[in-house]
Symmetry: C2
Subunit: 559 residues, 2 copies
């Protein structure tokens, strides 16, 4: 039975549901249904506390028992999955020789200010309690750039990853899973190297990770800022419109060309013919043969920037071929990515599971989606943040990409405060949408049913078949722990048999080690495999006491 505190927490939640429905102008009957549930909860609370069910439901609680808005607790079964995901990802980072750093959760306010454009209003500040003014980190890119600016001469070349929480005072569309505290997972290679080698490794590593996570089929869209810039120039886009037109192109994965063209011409004042020339290019997608094709395009190759980009792409494809991941890559001239600071290749991984719904033309009355709103903001003033465009908002689940990144050769220079080569540390990186990957993999686990809800990987349950035998169970458990075998037993002097089996079933523990008075006297012990093909009444194995640990280690594949 729920406690008063739990009821209070549920009342708060249910109140939010009701308010949300009202705000969304939901059907009256839907609202009424949820109001009734709220009433029931309040009545249940009143029964426990003896207090009358009041309108706010507050009298009974000493304080509101909840987490702050936009944050949540991670429960054990979520953590179990999250840790397995992080472990798989970091194992691959480390295969590639990456190191990790950790930076403080808050930075001096002035380090963050001026880095995120209009989104600076979403930064959490710490209260001025005397001393320095600080803010919670908004992403991991700016702290990394700050770290490099401070320690660049110690790390002229660094391949680093960082998995950590970041903070944004977004008005969360909570029903969409948009959070104010969420994880980012960044991998970056900083330093001067021969061309395209780090870029190719970022892409190969992304394939390795997405394959290891078994998220299903995926494609990495690839483009190059210099090709885009050249393309816009030869199509006749005025220099000062290149960014805003690029940002319009970036919406082609969510909007049909007609809408994007309209934005270019009507909103942004681009000549219709120029837009049409762009339209011819940005519909192009393909593999290395597209690079060759564009290299034959006399108009494009008249532009120096485009030629540089195409040379990069040709070299990159050569390396991707060696890494065996060309088939995952789609050279896609419509990929633009929202951010100003990219200077070379850009890429974005999409999966079937994470792909956005087919583009629809919004009617004038339609409420823009958060992604659209975001894109609009970006269109006005692109922000300085790798993860802030709609494609890689870690906190929005079910739309967009699972990883994205690119080359940004100028960002660190902004922090080191120096112009020219001295302050310049070229970087290329990839950011994995770990919150989204978590949601995809949780859904998959729930559909498959076999892992969902599991919170740990206990291998052996030490149970008694009679008379408690607590001390014997403790001895066995200690022996198993010493041998590195994950083991538990019931903290009862005389546990009941069904209760013990209940734990085994619930936790799906693969082996039950059974101690019984008869076998104890004989110096033997019994193992009952609980899960998998060995399961079944007739599969108990009786063995000498001293054979237990070696037997289990062999069964568990650790010999």
């Amino acid at each position: 039975m729920a406690t008063a505190a739990e009821l209070n927490a549920r009342i708060v939640e249910q109140g939010n549901v009701v308010r949300k429905l009202k705000a969304d102008k939901a059907a009256a009957e839907d609202i009424q249904k949820e109001v009734l549930s709220l009433k029931e909860l309040k009545d249940a609370l009143a029964k426990i506390t003896g207090a009358p069910s009041d309108a706010k439901g507050k009298k009974a609680a000493k304080f509101t028992l909840k987490t702050a808005k936009g944050t949540k607790d991670w429960h054990p079964s979520d953590m179990y999955l999250r840790q397995r995901i992080f472990r798989k990802i970091t194992d691959i980072f480390e295969l590639h020789g990456a190191v990790t750093i950790d930076t403080p959760v808050f930075e001096l306010k002035e380090i963050l200010s001026g880095k995120y454009g209009e989104d600076s209003k979403l930064i959490y500040d710490l209260q001025d309690q005397g001393g320095e003014l600080c803010s919670l980190r908004y992403d991991l890119t700016v702290p990394f750039a700050r770290f490099l600016a401070m320690n660049g001469s110690q790390y002229p070349n660094i391949k680093r990853y960082h998995i950590a929480k970041v903070y944004r005072r977004d008005q969360p569309a909570m029903s969409k899973g948009r959070m104010r505290e969420f994880y980012q997972c960044d991998f970056d290679i900083a330093g001067v190297y021969d061309p395209m080698l780090p870029d190719a490794e970022c892409l190969s590593l992304t394939c390795e990770i997405l394959e290891a996570l078994e998220i299903g089929d995926f494609t990495i869209k690839l483009n190059h800022r210099k090709i885009l810039d050249g393309l816009f120039a030869v199509c006749g886009v005025p220099e000062d419109k290149i960014r805003t037109i690029s940002s319009a192109v970036d919406k082609l994965d969510k909007l049909p060309w007609a809408d994007v063209r309209k934005e270019m011409t009507e909103e942004k004042g681009l000549d219709g013919e120029v837009a049409d020339r762009i339209g011819e290019y940005v519909k192009l997608k393909g593999g290395p043969e597209l690079v060759d094709q564009l290299k034959q395009d006399a108009r494009l190759t008249a532009n120096k920037s485009a030629v540089e980009g195409l040379d990069d792409m040709a070299l990159l494809y050569k390396y991707l071929d060696i890494y065996g991941c060309v088939n995952r890559i789609s050279f896609d001239l419509s990929l633009a990515r929202g951010l100003d600071y990219y200077t070379g290749v850009i890429y974005e991984a999409v999966t079937e599971a994470s792909a956005p719904p087919a583009p629809v033309a919004p009617s004038p009355e339609a409420v823009p989606t958060p992604a659209q709103k975001k894109a609009d903001v970006k269109g006005k003033k692109p922000a300085l943040n790798a993860d802030e465009d709609a494609e890689l908002d870690e906190s929005t689940v079910g739309v967009g990409s699972v990883a994205a990144g690119g080359r940004y050769d100028e960002l660190v220079g902004m922090f080191s405060g120096e112009k020219g080569a001295a302050g310049k540390i070229p970087c290329v990186g990839i950011s994995f949408g770990v919150e989204r990957l978590f949601s995809l993999l949780l859904k998959k686990a729930q559909e498959q049913g076999d892992q969902a809800g599991r919170a740990k990987a206990t291998e052996v349950y030490v149970m008694s078949l009679g008379d408690g035998l607590l001390e014997e169970r403790m001895k066995v458990a200690k022996e198993l722990w010493s041998a590195g075998i994950k083991a538990e037993f019931m903290y009862k002097a005389k546990p009941k048999l069904p209760k013990q089996f209940e734990v085994i079933d619930k936790e799906r523990i693969p082996y039950a080690v059974q101690v019984s008075p008869g076998e104890l006297a004989k110096g033997t012990i019994r193992v009952k495999p609980q899960v998998g093909k060995e399961q079944g009444a007739g599969n108990d194995v009786e063995m000498k006491r001293e054979e237990l640990v070696p037997w289990l280690l062999e069964k568990l594949g650790r010999k």
Copy 2:
């Protein structure tokens, strides 16, 4: 050569050194030395920037490039060690079937308020930017209690660990390594079980972890609040003085008995004879035989609380014997622990390396140490926080214990807002001083020299013995990554041989795989073991190209 930004960072640091020396009234010549270093840094900066070296060193920098006061970056080699420590600890938590949870880095302000006594002033608040008032978490205990109060019926029994950063606006004695952001590592068993079983497991697990970390010899001091309460009662301490006298006893590891007696009688108004009776008891230390001895003590056994405590201890010792860790435990009647909320066993692990210096009587003029100041605050008003007493300040390095904890059966009830059994979730736990353990193990690694400074565990460096052979190196690296072998190569088309060996030596990479034109033609490849007994000029192995991966896997023990 250092950049202007780096020089600025060093100038800020050096400025702090100088200010600290001045504040500490250090010898003039020591101050002068550091002032000169500061001057040199400023001159170096002036050379780069062309700006005159000004008093504050600020003009040249666009902003101060540093982390916030009391926080720091963790560099790659520190992270490498930190991750290995955390992995060893969590592996053992998981052996015991523990799950983990994660809570937000900030909580509603009202959740934290009123939980930490006078130390509430050290809580970081977030700025009121509209919406809820929030604070950064101060420890992991209160968020866990809040989690249990919200989700208790889902987790009536839970064995959980949590490793995460906490935040305290302490005036940091930075030179002592006292930080405002630091890690805590808590393991707790919550729920109703048969007596002393979870308590024994906490102690066994603590031994297992400290042994696995190889921190050298250690002792776990053990006592029981009910015994202490009984002891104070039979000695004649008035009910209302028990807490404050207990807090005086707790200083016996840092102060001689005479000083503690003085505090009891002069400061706290205890009768001298009562103090002397206490003195007879608190000098007792021993093993299970001390439990038997006290059970013969007619004065003590007249007290119900003492008898309950002694019965617990007898049962606990029986279980500790089964777990084979009695020899690590010292039943020590002088251990009191600072916190109000303990209700049963209390314990604290000390190592030779972490033991405090021998107690000295401070002269009246002596400046109190932070630990003493803390103890004084506690003496006045004990705070509601497992880790806040001087013995387990995670942020103070070089003094005190490496782990501490105890049983606290009433804390969760404070959050669930319910009296009696419904809101009561008994808990027992242990908190590891991971920052201190890190410092101890870093020092050890530096002394041994073999691991210090290493930031990753790359196993193979793929190098070219001639003509670059970039593509061949990439192919080999990809093959190794696919086989789960940690591999790197130089991101250069034509790397120089000495440069490649430099990396191998610096990173202490155990195997160099060498490709050369001649062997490529023959279809062979060469491996040169770089570290360990196989090292040496004559130990190169030439093998068929396809034998490389199996050969390496066998050498790396992964067959």
